[in-house]
C-alpha cells in the first residue's frame, strides 16, 4: 500500500519515524474493535507533526502503539513502525527496551500518574542513566540534577530529594519532559503534554519543548485536541477521526483550506473564528462508537456533504498536491466552496 507521507522530505532525508498502515485492535467486553485503522504518517528530525483529533479518535492508541506500550487489552493488528529505518514492531522485547529512551521516548499527559509517587524525583530522573549507561547511583543523581536545571526547576539539587506530589502541575510536567529527553532521543512523542495545565504554564511548557527540540534536533509527534496548539506549534498535521487519518499536510495549508469536511467543521467550531453573539457552526452529532463504525466513510453521519457514494465506499487518503492528502470523495468540491 502506497500512502502519501505528509511532509515528504524535500531533501530526500529519511524520516526519523515512519508509521505505515498501522492498525490496532482493542479487546473489549463486547468483542474486538479496531481502534486504529490503517494509518500512516512520517516525521523528520527537527519537525513537529501533530496528531489532531477528539476523544476516542485513536490518537493516544497510536502513540502507545508506536512507543510499544499498548495495554494487554490492545495489540497491533498490522503495519510497521520504522524508527531510523528499523521496524520496531519486529523487534523482541529486550531490543525494544534498549531503544526506549535513547532513540524514542514519550511524554504523557498526566504527570502525577506517570511519575512514581514513592520515589524521589532525583532517583526517577537518574533511572535512564543507570539503565542505559550503567552509571552509579551517585553519578546518575548528578545527571538528574543537571536535567532538572535544564528544564527550569529552581534549586534542583535540593528539589531532587522531593517526591512528585511536592511539585506543582507545571513542575511535574517539566520533570516528565526531563525524563523523556534525558538520553537525547531522535523521536519524542508528546501525548497532550499541556492539557491539564493553566494557560500561562502551558505556554511555558510548549516553549520548553520547542527549545529542547531545537537543541536535540528531535522529531516530535504532538498529540492534541487543541487546534490552536497545532496552529502555533506544529509543522504538519494529521487529522484523525474514528481511528483513521482523514487529512494530512502542512498546518498552515490545511487550516487555510481544509480538504476534509471534518477538518472544516473543527475549524468552524472554534469560538475564536466567530463574532460574539453569533452562532458557532458546530458539527452535529458525535463521533461513532468504535463498535459501530459505518461501512463507507467514517464521517458520513455528521457530514453536511454526504451522499450515497459515501455510505458505500470508504474514501482512501488521496494525495492532493505535493504534501497534502485527504480522505474524502468530494475534497475538491470542498476546496472550491
Amino acid at each position: 500500500m502506497t500512502v502519501p507521507t505528509p511532509a515528504a522530505p524535500p531533501s530526500g532525508a529519511e524520516p526519523a519515524l515512519e508509521v505505515e498502515n498501522l492498525s490496532v485492535d482493542l479487546n473489549t467486553a463486547s468483542g474486538t474493535v479496531r481502534a486504529v485503522d490503517g494509518i500512516s504518517f512520517a516525521v523528520r528530525k527537527g519537525v513537529t507533526l501533530a496528531l489532531l483529533g477528539e476523544s476516542g479518535c485513536g490518537k493516544s492508541m497510536t502513540a502507545l502503539a508506536v512507543a510499544g506500550l499498548l495495554d494487554p487489552v490492545a495489540e497491533v493488528a498490522e503495519g510497521a513502525v520504522r524508527v531510523g529505518g528499523t521496524d520496531v514492531l519486529r523487534l523482541g522485547r529486550a531490543e525494544r527496551k534498549r531503544l526506549a529512551g535513547p532513540v524514542l521516548s514519550i511524554v504523557f499527559q498526566d504527570a502525577l500518574t506517570a511519575l512514581n509517587p514513592v520515589q524521589t524525583v532525583g532517583a526517577q530522573l537518574g533511572e535512564p542513566f543507570r539503565i542505559h549507561q550503567g552509571l552509579s547511583r551517585r553519578k546518575a543523581r548528578e545527571k538528574a540534577v543537571e536535567l532538572m536545571r535544564t528544564v527550569g526547576i529552581p534549586e534542583p539539587r535540593a528539589r531532587a530529594r522531593s517526591y512528585p506530589h511536592q511539585f506543582s502541575g507545571g513542575m511535574r510536567q517539566r520533570l516528565l519532559i526531563a525524563m523523556a529527553v534525558a538520553l537525547g532521543p531522535d523521536v519524542l512523542i508528546a501525548d497532550e503534554p499541556t492539557t491539564a495545565l493553566d494557560v500561562t504554564v502551558q505556554a511555558q511548557i510548549m516553549q520548553l519543548l520547542a527549545d529542547l527540540q531545537a537543541e536535540h534536533d528531535m522529531a516530535v509527534v504532538l498529540i492534541t485536541h487543541d487546534l490552536a496548539v497545532v496552529a502555533e506549534r506544529a509543522d504538519n498535521v494529521a487529522v484523525m477521526y474514528a481511528g483513521t487519518v482523514v487529512e494530512t499536510g502542512p498546518v498552515h495549508e490545511v487550516f487555510a483550506a481544509p480538504g476534509h469536511p471534518y477538518t472544516r467543521g473543527l475549524l468552524d467550531s472554534v469560538p475564536e473564528n466567530v463574532d460574539r453573539g453569533q452562532r458557532l457552526r458546530s458539527v452535529p452529532g458525535s463521533p461513532p462508537e468504535l463498535t459501530a463504525i459505518p461501512a463507507g466513510c467514517v464521517f458520513q453521519a455528521r457530514c453536511p456533504m454526504a451522499r450515497d457514494r459515501c455510505a458505500e465506499e470508504r474514501p482512501a487518503l488521496t494525495p492532493a498536491g505535493p504534501s497534502r492528502a485527504a480522505a474524502c470523495h468530494f475534497s475538491e468540491e470542498l476546496a472550491s466552496a
Binding site: G169, T200, A203, A228, A231, S269
Partner: protein
C-alpha cells in the same frame, strides 16, 4: 448514537410555561442580552478563608476570596476567568449559598439571600441553579433522564408541575434531546448529550441565574460548539442570566457580555468583554491573553511568557498579588496593594500602572 443538533429548530418549542410563575417573579421572556436596570445579583467585598493543614503540621488560613465585587444583570452573561486556585469556584459556591462568606454582602434583587431561612431560603434556591463541569460525574448513573430532570421537584414540591412527564418532555425538547430520551440512563448518552441533560435539570425550577462552572471544558470541540449555541439560545428565549466560569479565553470572549479576571482571590480586572480583550489594563490579563494559544497563528513572536506559577494562596505576596510575576513591578507594588480604579468607562483594574491603551499581546 446520533446527537440532536444544538439549534432548536422545532417550531415554537414550549417556552417554559409555569417555570417562572413558581418563583413569583416575572423573568422577562426573550430578554435581549445585557440590558440596563438594577442588577439581578450583586456582591460586594466578599471574603472567604479556609482553615487548612499548613506546613509543619500546623494550621494555616487559605484566603480564597479577598474582597471580591461583582454584579450580574438580567439576561446577561458575566464571564469569570482565571487559573486554578484563583478563587473562581469558591466564588461560585458563595453565589449559590453553598459557602457563607466571612465578610461582604450578596444581594439578589436587593435582598440578602444569606438572611433567608426555611421556606424562604428554599424558594430562593430555585432562582439560582448550577451546571457542572463534568457531565459524567454530575449525573447519577442509576437514575433515568426523567428522574434526573425531575429530581429538583422532589425537594421543591410546590414548584413541581402538574404534569411532570409532559414538563420533562418539554425540557428535553428545549435542550435538543428527544422525548424518548426520558427513559434512558446517563450511560446511554454521549458527553454532549449528558451536558444537555445537566442543563435541563438546571432549568427545571425556572431559575433566573445559572452558574456554569466550566460547562464545556470536558467536551470535544465539535460538541462544545453545540452546547455553547444551546446556552445562547436558552438565554435568548428565557432571559436567564449566566455566571460563566472558564479557563478558556476564546470561549469566554464568545459568550460573555462582561468579564472579571481573577488572580489569587482578587478580581484584578473587570469590564465589557470587548474592552477587556482588545485593550487589557492589567499586566496579568495581558499575559493570560498572550499565553493562550490562538488559531490566528501569525503571532508577532512577542509573546509575554510569565515566569513562575501562581504563588501559594497560603502565603500570598504582600502588596499587589501579581507583583512576583509582573515585569513592571516596583517597590510601590510590594508595599501598597493597589485600589480598584476605573480607567475606562465601566472598565476597572487593580494595578498601580495600568496598561492604558496598550493592545493585547504588546
Amino acid at each position: 448514537m446520533p446527537d440532536s443538533p444544538g439549534r432548536s429548530d422545532t417550531p415554537d418549542a414550549p417556552a417554559v410555561p409555569d417555570a417562572t410563575a413558581a418563583t413569583g417573579s416575572a423573568a422577562a421572556p426573550a430578554a435581549s442580552a445585557a440590558q440596563a436596570g438594577g442588577p439581578l445579583l450583586s456582591a460586594t467585598g466578599l471574603r472567604k478563608s479556609f482553615r487548612v493543614a499548613g506546613g509543619n503540621g500546623g494550621k494555616a488560613d487559605l484566603t480564597a476570596l479577598d474582597g471580591v465585587d461583582l454584579h450580574v444583570g438580567r439576561g446577561e452573561t458575566l464571564g469569570l476567568v482565571g487559573e486554578s486556585g484563583c478563587g473562581k469556584s469558591t466564588l461560585a459556591r458563595v453565589l449559590l449559598l453553598l459557602e457563607r462568606p466571612d465578610a461582604g454582602t450578596v444581594r439578589f434583587e436587593g435582598t440578602d439571600p444569606f438572611a433567608l431561612r426555611g421556606r424562604d431560603l428554599l424558594k430562593w434556591r430555585r432562582r439560582v441553579q448550577m451546571v457542572f463541569q463534568d457531565p459524567f460525574a454530575s449525573l447519577n448513573a442509576r437514575m433515568s433522564a426523567a428522574d434526573i430532570i425531575g429530581e429538583p421537584w422532589r425537594t421543591h414540591r410546590d414548584a413541581a408541575p402538574a404534569d411532570r412527564d409532559q414538563r420533562v418532555r418539554e425540557l428535553l425538547d428545549l435542550v435538543g434531546l428527544r422525548p424518548g430520551d426520558a427513559r434512558r440512563y446517563p450511560g446511554e448518552f454521549s458527553g454532549g448529550q449528558r451536558q444537555r441533560l445537566g442543563i435541563a435539570r438546571a432549568l427545571a425550577l425556572g431559575p433566573e441565574l445559572i452558574v456554569c462552572d466550566e460547562p464545556v471544558s470536558a467536551l470535544d470541540l465539535s460538541v462544545q460548539a453545540q452546547v455553547l449555541n444551546l446556552l445562547a439560545d436558552l438565554q435568548q428565549r428565557l432571559g436567564v442570566s449566566y455566571v460563566f466560569i472558564s479557563h478558556d479565553l476564546s470561549v469566554v470572549r464568545h459568550v460573555a457580555d462582561r468579564v472579571s479576571v481573577m488572580y489569587l482571590g482578587k478580581v484584578v480586572e473587570h469590564g465589557p468583554t470587548e474592552s477587556v480583550f482588545e485593550r487589557p489594563l492589567h499586566p496579568y490579563t495581558a499575559a493570560l491573553m498572550s499565553a493562550a494559544p490562538s488559531l490566528g497563528a501569525a503571532r508577532s513572536g512577542r509573546r509575554i511568557l510569565l515566569s513562575g506559577e501562581i504563588p501559594s494562596p497560603l502565603d500570598p505576596p504582600s502588596g499587589c498579588r501579581f507583583r512576583t510575576r509582573c515585569r513592571q513591578a516596583t517597590d510601590l507594588c510590594a508595599e501598597t496593594p493597589p485600589a480598584p480604579a476605573e480607567v475606562r468607562e465601566h472598565h476597572e483594574t487593580l494595578c498601580h500602572f495600568p496598561l492604558e491603551g496598550a493592545p493585547a499581546g504588546a
